[in-house]
């Protein structure tokens, strides 16, 4: 069995989520990695993908039409290559979620989204109802199209492999869409979904000023990424790309520190696979304490600065 993985990359480096997807793909068969992009960065990413442990071959599609991973352009490329593969895997990221169903429908395949585990070549588990239930589903399609939840699989080693890089070409620009621009949040901190430590703030922070005044110094001390609950984002205390939860990002760091977060189901769905959860909340009955390994009850405006000072 052979498996195609669409590798997401940034600045010439495959993203961590793609390393996890390679691990998932290895459970199904021989892994070929598709790198789509343009110019030197794409070439660099392909060379890096060739070094990922477990990748047998890299396909590089170099075309300006693939620079911004527009689904209208990338999906036909994947579909053209699909014939040689029994399964096609994507990350369950904003790129994977955008492209994969377009590929699946073009192949007349019912996609399996957000795969948590691979039970066999045709049977997978996935979360439904915001993670309140886990379904085991069996696919009857001859070819499988999956999106893989990165936090559910360990990352493949970024080095150790020595795959060959082969150039492939697609149809390029489908002429349906164009990229206008992006507003990328710039941060010195680690990326939320791959950080070892995450410090998240909730509605109890009360304002955007207090959110940053209380959360940021602690995050800096711990070398942590900063997250937020949906309530905090909706209230405007933190930008949307901080959001951890079913409607935001799914994280599973070594240590997750939840500050002033009550622990709505929505939020828990996004962080409950963290190795150690620390909760600081003034309400000792808050649901967050039911999942926290370490809890501290009290006023976050006293506790967090004290904690930051003592670290």
């Amino acid at each position: 069995m052979s498996v195609l993985v669409l590798i997401e990359h940034e600045a010439g480096v495959p993203k961590d989520a793609s390393l996890s997807t390679v691990t998932a793909a290895q459970k199904l068969g021989e892994v070929h990695a598709l790198v789509a992009g343009s110019g030197a960065e794409a070439r660099q990413a392909a060379d890096a993908a060739a070094k990922i442990a477990g990748v047998a071959k890299v396909l590089l599609a170099d075309d300006a039409a693939y620079t911004n991973m527009l689904a209208e352009n990338v999906a036909p490329l994947v579909v053209d290559l699909a014939g040689g593969y029994d399964a096609i895997l994507f990350n369950a990221t904003s790129i994977g979620k955008n492209v994969a169903p377009r590929v699946a429908a073009m192949l007349d395949v019912m996609q399996v989204s957000d795969v948590l585990s691979i039970e066999s070549a045709d049977t997978f588990t996935r979360p439904i109802y915001a993670g309140n239930a886990i379904a085991t589903v069996k696919s009857s399609d001859a070819r499988k199209v999956l999106t893989v939840r990165g936090t559910a699989f360990p990352k493949a080693a970024a080095t150790g492999g020595s795959a060959s890089v082969e150039s492939v070409s697609g149809k390029g620009d489908a002429g349906l869409s164009s990229f206008v621009g992006a507003e990328v949040s710039k941060s010195e901190r680690p990326e939320l979904t791959s950080a070892k430590v995450v410090v998240s703030g909730g509605r109890a922070l009360g304002s955007s000023e207090d959110f940053h005044r209380v959360i940021d110094p602690l995050a800096d001390k711990l070398g942590a990424a900063v997250g937020a609950s949906r309530a905090a984002v909706d209230a405007g205390y933190a930008p949307n790309d901080y959001q951890v939860g079913q409607t935001g990002k799914i994280v599973a760091p070594e240590v997750y520190v939840a500050i002033g977060i009550s622990g709505a189901i929505q939020h828990l769905a996004g962080m409950k696979d963290s190795k150690t959860i620390v909760a600081i909340n003034k309400d000792e009955d808050a649901p967050i304490f039911q999942v926290a390994d370490l809890g501290l009850v009290g006023d976050l405006f006293q506790i967090v600065p004290e904690l930051t000072a003592k670290l």
Binding site: A71, A105, T136
Partner: protein, 249 residues
């Protein structure tokens, strides 16, 4: 320009889903059902586009049981013009829903199809993208802003790193994210008025679409529960624990 808004009847987002004891699914008996929240945002956005003069007619469509009529009535009460129910008691997967919607698109020729990015029951996040593929049209997924500009629509998308804007040639498929808008409540007079708005009743067979599922659900379980840990007495204890974990110096 016509806008087509597909809506789905799902468990109300305030209800905590309970897994059935026999592991066959989630218990929906006597559970409050509502319009999928992301679809509600799509209905709202369509109405706003019409209010701005960018759209002339809004057609709501739903695939589901007879009760999905209630969901369509909600869409009509909010301000859509007419509705189509494609009635079936079978569970219809996103691929089959997309095929049905493609058939509706062929009939209705909308300029934009606006729908939620995912339904909060199966969380698939597929239907819009699949419809875009089947109709050969562009897709603007996870939209936080939608602007019609001549024969194009500009969609600002919520992506992992922030925001991204794409320009799509109409007709296009747009899927909504949470921050696009805040849906309005239907007023009582509008709820009354909605009762007389036209609703067509169709079946999947009318469109010649095979809705046989490709996936079989073998079992549905509750996720593994985390054990509650310990409550600490002081910040010093927490500092010590964080040092033990190797995250603090």
């Amino acid at each position: 320009m016509k806008i087509l808004v597909p809506v789905k009847r799902v468990i109300d987002y305030n209800v905590k889903p309970r897994v059935k004891m026999d592991g066959t699914g989630v218990d929906l008996t006597n559970v409050k059902m509502s319009m999928n929240p992301f679809d509600e945002i799509a209905v709202e956005e369509a109405i706003r586009l019409k209010e701005k003069g960018a759209a002339s007619e809004i057609v709501a469509v739903s695939v589901g049981p007879q009760k999905a009529q209630d969901t369509l009535r909600t869409a009509l009460a909010m301000g859509t013009d007419r509705a189509i129910l494609i009635q079936t008691d079978e569970e219809v997967e996103p691929l089959a829903v997309a095929k049905l919607l493609k058939a509706v698109m062929d009939e209705e020729q909308p300029g934009i199809v606006l729908l939620g990015k995912q339904a909060i029951d199966d969380d698939s996040n597929q239907t819009g993208q699949m419809l875009a593929a089947l109709s050969g049209r562009p897709q603007g997924t996870f939209a936080s802003k939608v602007e019609v500009k001549g024969d194009k629509v500009e969609v600002t998308r919520e992506v992992d790193g922030g925001l991204e804007t794409v320009s799509l040639t109409l007709p296009a498929i747009v899927t909504t994210d949470l921050r696009l808008n805040e849906p309005r409540y239907a007023s009582l007079p509008n709820i009354m008025k909605a009762r007389t708005k036209p609703m067509a009743n169709k079946t999947p067979a009318d469109y010649g679409v095979d809705i046989a599922p490709r996936l079989t659900t073998l079992k549905v379980e509750e996720p593994a529960k985390r054990q509650a840990g310990v409550k600490l007495g002081s910040v010093d204890e927490l500092v010590a624990k964080l040092k033990d974990l190797g995250v603090a110096k």
